[in-house]
Amino acid sequence: MSTAVAIPHQPIEEWKLPSRGIVGMACLIIAESAIFIIFVVAYLFYIGKSLTGPTPREVLEIPWFATVCLLSSSITVHFAVQSLRSAKVNLCAAWLAATVLLGGIFIAATAMEWYDLIYHYGLTVRTNLFGTTFYSLVGLHASHVIVGLLMLGLTLIFALMGKVNQHHAERLEVISIYWHFVDAVWVVVFTVVYIVGR
């Protein structure tokens, strides 16, 4: 057998695989996006199809302040991850606190908006198609914000207790990806509900 010439096969160099936390979160985000797409499609489909009032134009006000708060919390959480990467735990805790605060303002604003809608305008899930689709879409998003706040809040508590260190940076990054996703969804929900739908 004269083919014993050594075949130049690359030795297996560095075997690097993606981080499972980030891949897992990416998968979750794909699945969640599909859920949101269905709710958004339902909202768009039912715009202007309510048989009775109130209509979005009559009752909705554009929540500029809450939107700015939520979107800027994306920046603060990014800085939190950065500072944990460079082992600045206290700075990380400060950024996390800012994120939780901004997210909390958003949720509070939504709560106040809903209170207004229910008690002043009498709009509930039962009232008309607008009520049904509005509360379910915005509520679905708000529930995601709450889950994100719980995770961030827990991390903040652990950071304050001094139990967080540099090795947890990747886990915090996974949470931050989720938070960015929640913010991105808000951009869509905001456009659909407050711009297109009004």
Partner: protein
Amino acid sequence: MATQTQVTVNPALERGWLYHVQDWVTTVDHKKIGLMYIAYALIFLVIAGVEAILMRIQLLVPNNNFVSPEVFNRLFTMHGTTMVFFVGMPILFGFGNYLVPLMIGARDMAFPRLNAFSFWVSAFGGLLLYFSYFAGSGLYGAGTAPDVGWFAYAPLTARVFSPGHSTDYWTLSILISGIGNIGTALNIVATTLCMRCPGMKLSRMPLLVWLYLVVSGLVFVTISPLTAAQIMLLIDRYLGGHFFDTQAGGSAVLWMHFFWIFGHPEVYILVLPAFAFANEIIPVFSRKAVFGYPAMVAASIGIGFISLSVWAHHMFTVGMGPGPNAFFTFSTMVISVPTGIKIFNWLATLWGGNIHFTTAMKFAIGFLFQFLVAGLTGIMLSVSPFDWQLAGSYFLVAHFHYVLVGAILFMIFSAFYYWYPKITGRMLSEKLGSWHFWLFLIGFHLTFDFMHIPGILGMPRRIYTYEADRGWAIWNMIVSSGAFFQAVATLIFVWNLVASYFKGEKAGPDPWDAWTLEWSTSSPPPSYNFATIPTVESRRPLWDRKHPEEPDAHYE
């Protein structure tokens, strides 16, 4: 070393049944979870099979009163729901759970605890669905089992038309089993991407793993819409929303769209794992490497994408207008192209091979033939004018059972014969296997070949009974008789599973002279799968090890 855990196995505990219960309940081992998935699916397979038999007895002769119309409605609803959500999905995920880490040379899934959670939540979903038989007025009045059909069209599901909790059982059980499905799919993707052994590039992964990757991707974009639709239905039923309430301007057609956006890709979620088994089994018993590996991967991904754009072919009779009808006819026909590529590649793998007709291979050949026929009736139904005539008839029922039974179930049986030795360490009896195969084949063709005919003669699906003068009686008689053949064959199979576990021939690590990594470890594999993580240089790592003078690695 391990600390902080409440559940530690007490070594003093006698290794009695309690020990085993605890062992299985607390396990995070992907192989045990896979087996629990399979066992639980098999139990539901028998339950849903019995439901099918009851329906076939009811339809055996005209004007029959074997069961009441109400019970019949529950039977077909539960049969469909169970078979899709609590047999098909779990058995396929079970095999995936068991095989994917072994095939890529990993010791466990990426998220072992999530894996356990996903299994249990799906399992409890199934239990909740069947709890409905005992709820409400109890078993004597057959409880409040769902009776709205497996796709539960609005407005039948509205509170007004479906009072009580029967529809809620359907919604909630599917909702929570969906959580489990998404969790497992997430796990499979993360495992495939992040846990491969050194050298196992994506271009060298076994085709089974590739297909499971595609299936899991599909699960994200199909089960999620179903979850969303179920949440909307819950809002309608519990909070008085109007999503599908036609009285308040809501749309019943929207539910159809949402359901079938899930429903059609779901068919591919079920059939792609069957392809995956074929991709492993056909080459091994043809003694040839699979033909056209890159084309197979491309076709799988192609099917995944195209399957997302065909859903409304379930809705041709709704009256969507010429534009959508033309589009969905076209896209449905297009999907037969990648599927055709697969069939040709399997044939090319068989071509010139040294074919070993083991029971697994017999089932695989049956699959090839029957899947082709099912695809051909599928193309017939994809033509919307043809569909207008036969949608909602027994022709349609025959078509999709040809896919689900003739293709998927055959390949699942094949997978059992192929991997049982790996799972238990013992071979299944080939003699009983032959009986199983031939009886099931006869029963299948009696039932589902002849089921097309009453459909063409105009017999609608879900019909409770029929008049004697319609000319359907003889066909229904044949169809029902085939069902009994299948039942007997399935009993032989179950007996084979049990008997071979105790008395089967010892298998050894590699009874089939196969080429993928799972055969390089002992049977059954140890909890850690591989004592040393293997390294891989080609698509057939065991071929390389067995034939060091001529490894595949030189040719890929």
